[in-house]
Each structure stands twice: as structure tokens, then as C-alpha cells.
Symmetry: C2
Subunit: 219 residues, 2 copies
């Protein structure tokens, strides 16, 4: 029987991880890495030039994030599968990912077996989530149902485009004034954005904000 291998594209801004995953997938008879990209922007191009079956993509990337890129991909080609790779199992990322239409979510500390499993699973049209992710989602589901609509719903924790810009400026050491000038808005608006960011992420002050930005590779 003649069939073609599953075509994989790997997207990550770290070459070593990119090549590492590629190596892990070598020698398998039904999987083939046909392309790699170092950014979301490149990935979008890859979609038309190589039409992979599955994108294995880091969620945290400079420039377009994995989530944004997924939205792009799904808009252009809803049947293309996307598996996001993340270094942390984070409720908000998972939620944003599901909303963007991902087919799988894989922690970075997964085994080769889990990686291959995830590819096989999403190729069958199913979704793949690691046990940790599943546990987290189910626990969250349980908690939400338990206290129902009585308690105030948790606010969104996904930053808007503008908020991310402001965050990047401030965390890079720009003052509010400098940030305002560079973004052509008033200082007051920058203040508000900064406040919203801190509220959304639960960060008490600038120091913690910078720490967050660094931890999440936003600068």
C-alpha cells in the first residue's frame, strides 16, 4: 500500500531545540520533517510553500507568538494541525490556544514517546493534551462548576497588542514619558495600559512586571 508520510514543520526561535526535535523525529517511517522556521512570520510563509500537515510550534516566540501564528494558520487553512510546545503548563495559554484552534499542547519536558504520540493522535483528527494539561483543565472545570455563576468570573489574562507593546517598552527600561512619545499617545494612556497589564497579570509593581517580561521572553 502506497501512502505518504505525515509532513511536519517545526517552528521555534531556538535552533538547538528546533534541530533537537527534528532529530527525535528522524528514522520514523510515517513522519517526515519537511521544514523548519525560526519565527511565526516564517511559519506563515511555510504554510503556502510547503503545506505541512502539522506545525510543531513553540508558544513563546519573539515577534508573533505561537497563539497568533496559530490563528493565522487556521484562518488560511483550517485543516492544518497545530501542536503548541510550551515550557510551562499554563491555564491561560491553554485556553487561548484552544480558542485559537490548536490540535495539541505539549510540555517541553515531554518524552520522545509523548511527542510521537501527539503527532499520531492529531493525525487521527483527535486532540492531544498531555496528562498534566488534562489534569489542569479538568480541575479547572470542576472548580468552575462547583461555585457556579455566583462568584465573579476570573478576568482575562491575555494581554492586548497595545498592552504588549507598552510592556515591552517599560520592561526595556523606557520611562512612561519615553514610551508615550514613541507610541504617540499620552503619558496618561501609557499609565492606564501599564495598570491594566499589572491588574491582568496580578503584578504589584514595575519590578515584578519586568521580571514577568523577562521570564516570558517578551523582551
Amino acid at each position: 500500500m502506497s501512502y505518504s508520510k505525515t509532513k511536519i514543520a517545526i517552528v521555534d526561535d531556538h535552533a538547538l531545540l528546533r534541530h533537537g526535535i527534528q532529530s527525535l523525529l528522524q528514522g520514523l517511517d510515517d513522519i517526515e520533517v519537511i521544514a523548519t522556521a525560526s519565527s511565526g512570520e516564517e511559519a506563515v510563509t511555510l504554510l503556502t510553500t510547503h503545506s505541512p500537515d502539522i506545525f510543531l510550534m513553540d508558544i513563546m516566540m519573539k515577534g508573533m507568538s505561537g497563539i497568533e501564528t496559530t490563528r493565522w494558520i487556521k484562518e488560511q487553512s483550517p485543516t492544518t494541525r497545530v501542536i503548541l510546545i510550551s515550557s510551562e503548563v499554563n491555564k491561560e495559554y491553554i485556553a487561548a490556544g484552544i480558542k485559537a484552534g490548536i490540535n495539541g499542547y505539549l510540555p517541553k519536558d515531554s518524552s520522545r514517546e509523548a511527542l510521537v504520540d501527539s503527532i499520531h493522535t492529531v493525525m487521527k483528527g483527535e486532540r492531544y493534551f498531555s496528562p498534566e494539561v488534562t489534569a489542569l483543565v479538568f480541575q479547572d472545570f470542576y472548580l468552575k462548576e462547583k461555585d457556579g455563576k455566583g462568584l465573579p468570573r476570573q478576568k482575562t489574562k491575555v494581554l492586548s497588542k497595545r498592552e504588549e507593546e507598552v510592556l515591552a517598552h517599560i520592561a526595556s527600561g523606557k520611562s512612561l514619558k519615553e514610551t508615550a512619545d514613541e507610541l504617540f499617545i499620552s503619558v496618561k494612556t501609557v499609565e492606564t495600559h501599564k495598570q491594566h497589564i499589572q491588574d491582568k497579570l496580578g503584578l504589584k509593581n514595575t519590578a515584578l512586571l519586568v521580571k514577568y517580561a523577562i521570564d516570558n521572553k517578551l523582551i
Copy 2:
């Protein structure tokens, strides 16, 4: 001629990267990955149980950092080689690494060739630094020599004990008030310390101060 392969241990808290590097090193006739560890603590154990020739170790790890672990390893066994892997080419990391006695420094976006090259180089007893790292270090050297003794000497960049305490507090997100209370001094004194720190290190504001603290693993 009978000779043994170079024994490599890989240390990284991300399994995917760990296995990725391992895959990249497979099939080489003079290199063998004999062990992997997911933390600095494990690496120290590995040293006695497996006595590898070279540690390939991520600089950024939860718990013991790559630098700290290197110090440990070099104390126990000075002939064991250590190559640090970092996602960014950072002056302070490199300096701290050299001080700790690393044999090589490899950016995460290196090619497979560079990886293998680094292993061969350090096994010859030489140090391996990527072109970017070399460029950075030489530029720094040049700048230091250029302005000699004619210009006002750069102020000391060594923080006092107290200043480091204050820095750690502030960079961890403590307010001036909180810091003052915990150190049993007035807010004004904390302000002064903070100012001195910024002056010494040439940091314009809190954001840059936090970045410095994180870059230098002071928190």
C-alpha cells in the same frame, strides 16, 4: 588503535532540548552521550556515578544554575570539561562562566556542526567560544583599553553587602517601604542605596535594575 569515545553528560531542565541534543550527537564515532540530568543537583551526582568527560549544561535552570553547578563540578573534578548552553550572548554570563572555569559557551541557536566542533575543541584542552561571544569579549577588551587612564576612571562596580541586599529586595518586587521595614532602616536610606546601586551600575531606572538583577542571578 583502541580508544574510547568522549563521554558526554547533558544537563537541562527541558526534556525536549535534552533529548534533542542527544539525538544530534547520535551516530558520531567519537562522541557518546552517557547520561542526562534535569537539574544541577542531579548533575553533581552524575559526576561521581558516571564521570563524564564533558558536561553540556544549560546556564538557566531552576534551582542550581549552570554557573553554580560548574563551580561545584570544577571543585570536585577540575579536569572535567563544562560547556554552557545559553539562549542569549550575555556579557555577565560569560564573565561569570569564565570565572567559574567553563571550557566553552554555546548559544542555543547553534548548528549541529558548532555543537560537535565545541566538543572536539574542549577535548583538545582548548576553550570554545562561538564567534558572537568572541566578538563581544574582544569589543569589551578594546573599549576598556582605549580610554586608559586619561578619562575619569569608571566608578567601582562592586556593590557593597548592604547594596546587594537592597537590590535583591527591590528586584524581587518589594517596595521601598517594605524593604526599609525588613532591613530595619528608613525609607530614605533605602532610596540612597538604590540610587548608589544605579549610579555604580549605570542603570537609569527600576526596570533596568531588575533586568540587571535577573541577568546576574541575584534573585
